[in-house]
């Protein structure tokens, strides 16, 4: 890779050992990719918190050791200075307030708070959400970013037209200290054009349908770039959030285009930009049902845990849940967790939405989710969720069967303790 003078200076150690280790990692990573150079970034979203049992031994050596090994791939412990560029923490494993309900040991909850003190002192913003774009980090079109979190990456590239690859814990750790990331993949204009045309033949409008479309599509196109046309009604942030999260779970979709809706295209021709369309796919009633049946792996209709808010809920979604629960009580055999970013939970609290959900017997959580924390309520046997992403991952992570459906179906399951959802 070709480096600028200031990048070479960092690699030579003239800016201190941490930036030296960071540049060393970026060089190894860039070479692995076949990148020719680095690009400057001033927007890093990464995973810094060390709160899982498996990193206990590292935590015992101090947080410099945690950052060195896990964020820089350096066995040698180097002192970590303040971050060089705007940096935020994505979702974490522990709700700083509701950790007891999650079933997290106090020792780990304390460990996360101590880690946040260390990272906060170095300028890492504790958004603690998988959706930084819902709480103020909204990059502009063309901005080079270094983001983790597959659902945030696909939103950043497609909806916002900012540029990021799916970065990892180590590359974001290095980018935060150097303001650099390999210039490869989605940083380059030619690589952002469409590869597949998708004719949507069945109306896709509500959140569940966007999840089904994304889940079906991701499995087929894997990491290619679909261009959607047909019966897609004007989507919202929430719908595209669910669509992207689903497509990045069954596959590795990091970018898509919807002409007239997403940032970089007003027409199908512009979306392909001269690139050859590899295949035209059709999403009809049969494909919709296939995705629904694939996501629903449960058979027992007794539901003991309902999880809403993956990716983290927008305030409108918290309101929807509160409205559906208003004046009702959830089943004594069922627990309901609703997840929203900490900053939005503050609003939900102020609006009384948290009280409405709590009065019904539910819990409004932040900072985490069951897939990331690997915690569901103790004794959970069957889960229901409105998230295709969570329905994809929870059977693997927790070894439990999942029902997938609409928000309304999930809230009804929480109230009755029975799954009566289905495709309309």
């Amino acid at each position: 890779m070709k480096l600028t003078d200031s990048e070479q200076a960092m690699l030579d150690g003239r800016a201190g050992p941490a930036k030296q280790k960071a540049m060393d990692l970026l060089m190894r990573y860039g070479d692995a990719l076949g990148a020719e150079r680095l690009v400057e970034t001033n927007n890093v979203a990464g995973a810094f918190n060390a709160s899982t049992p498996s990193v206990r031994a590292l935590v015992a050596k101090g947080y410099d050791a945690v950052y060195s090994e896990l964020n820089l791939d350096s066995a040698e412990v180097v002192p970590i200075p303040k971050m060089a560029v705007n940096t935020c923490q994505l979702i974490t494993g522990i709700d700083n307030e509701k950790w007891r309900i999650q079933g997290i040991p106090e020792e780990l909850a304390d460990q996360q708070k101590k880690a946040e003190g260390y990272f906060g002192a170095r300028g890492i913003n504790m958004f603690a959400t998988c959706t930084p774009y819902q709480v103020g980090n909204v990059p502009v079109k063309g901005e080079h970013c270094a983001w983790m979190e597959s659902s945030a990456v696909v939103y950043c590239n497609s909806v916002l037209g900012a540029r990021t690859n799916t970065e990892g814990k180590e590359s974001t750790g290095a980018a935060a200290l150097t303001g650099r990331i390999p210039y490869w993949g989605y940083h380059i204009t030619e690589n952002r054009r469409g590869t597949h045309r998708v004719e949507v033949d069945v109306a896709v409008d509500d959140i569940m349908d966007w999840g089904l479309l994304g889940y079906w599509l991701g499995e087929i196109v894997q990491e290619d770039i679909p261009v959607l046309t047909g019966k897609v009604a004007q989507p919202s942030l929430i719908k595209l959030k669910h669509f992207g999260a689903a497509a990045a779970s069954s596959g590795g979709v990091e970018m898509y285009h919807i002409p007239g809706v997403t940032a970089e295209t007003n027409s199908i021709e512009e979306a392909f930009g001269g690139r050859k369309c590899e295949a035209t796919l059709r999403f009809g009633a049969a494909e919709r049902k296939l995705a629904y049946d694939t996501l629903n792996c449960a058979t027992d209709r007794s539901v003991d845990f309902v999880m809403l808010g993956c990716p983290h809920n927008a305030i409108e979604q918290v309101w929807l849940v509160a409205s559906l629960l208003d004046g009702r009580k959830i089943s004594p055999n069922t627990q309901l967790w609703v997840h929203t970013p900490r900053a939005l939970r503050e609003v939900a609290e102020r609006n009384g939405y948290v009280k409405m959900i709590t009065d019904a017997g539910g819990v409004v959580m932040s900072d985490t989710c069951p897939a990331i924390s690997r915690h569901a309520p103790k004794g959970t046997r069957v889960i229901a969720t409105d998230s295709a992403k969570q329905a994809h991952y929870l059977p693997a992570i927790l070894g439990l069967p999942v029902w997938f459906g609409s928000v309304k179906d999930c809230v009804e399951a929480a109230v009755t303790g029975r799954w009566n959802g289905g495709l309309q």
Binding site: A32, N165, E167, G168, E223, C297
Partner: protein, 152 residues
């Protein structure tokens, strides 16, 4: 690709040599574990045991510890590298990685796993290599040498 006879083992089994591009340098050898399914890191593997855990994955429940993992590429969460990083720290990482599709997930994952890794081979490794074959990876020179397993 070239085929030469291995005269050191009896009965002689053919060796197949593939050429590709180094992703992470170094040399390693071991038994191949081949899958046609892309692999998720976070939510797809158990980093303490080195097993694939994804529902509907053909390697579900199978360990890649000390294997030469041959796979199409990475998918899913950005936790790919962090989880393969942890397999190394936990002593359950693959010995080498051979894959087809380059992505940031698999590139960074290979780098932090510190396992020799090769891509862009001149023949499809998913076709040429079968689970149980003995595979030598010389990533520095971009060479993969495959000794086919004994036919039963």
């Amino acid at each position: 690709m070239s085929i030469v006879n291995d005269t050191r083992t009896a009965p002689a089994r053919p060796k197949i040599v593939l050429h590709g591009r180094k992703v992470v340098g170094g040399c390693a050898e071991g038994e191949a574990l081949v899958t046609r399914d892309t692999i998720s890191g976070w939510g797809g593997i158990n980093e303490r045991e080195g097993t694939v855990i994804e529902r509907r994955h053909e390697l579900r429940g199978i360990s890649f510890k000390d294997k030469v993992l041959v796979f199409p590429g990475a998918k899913g969460s950005s936790g790919w590298s962090a989880y393969f990083h942890m397999t190394r720290l936990n002593g359950v990482a693959p010995r080498a990685l051979i894959f087809n599709k380059m992505t940031t997930k698999v590139a960074l994952g290979a780098v932090v796993t510190h396992a020799p890794a090769i891509t862009e081979l001149d023949q499809d490794p998913l076709t040429v290599i079968e689970t149980g074959d003995w595979v030598k990876v010389d990533a520095d020179n971009g060479i993969v040498e495959v000794t086919k397993k004994a036919q039963v």
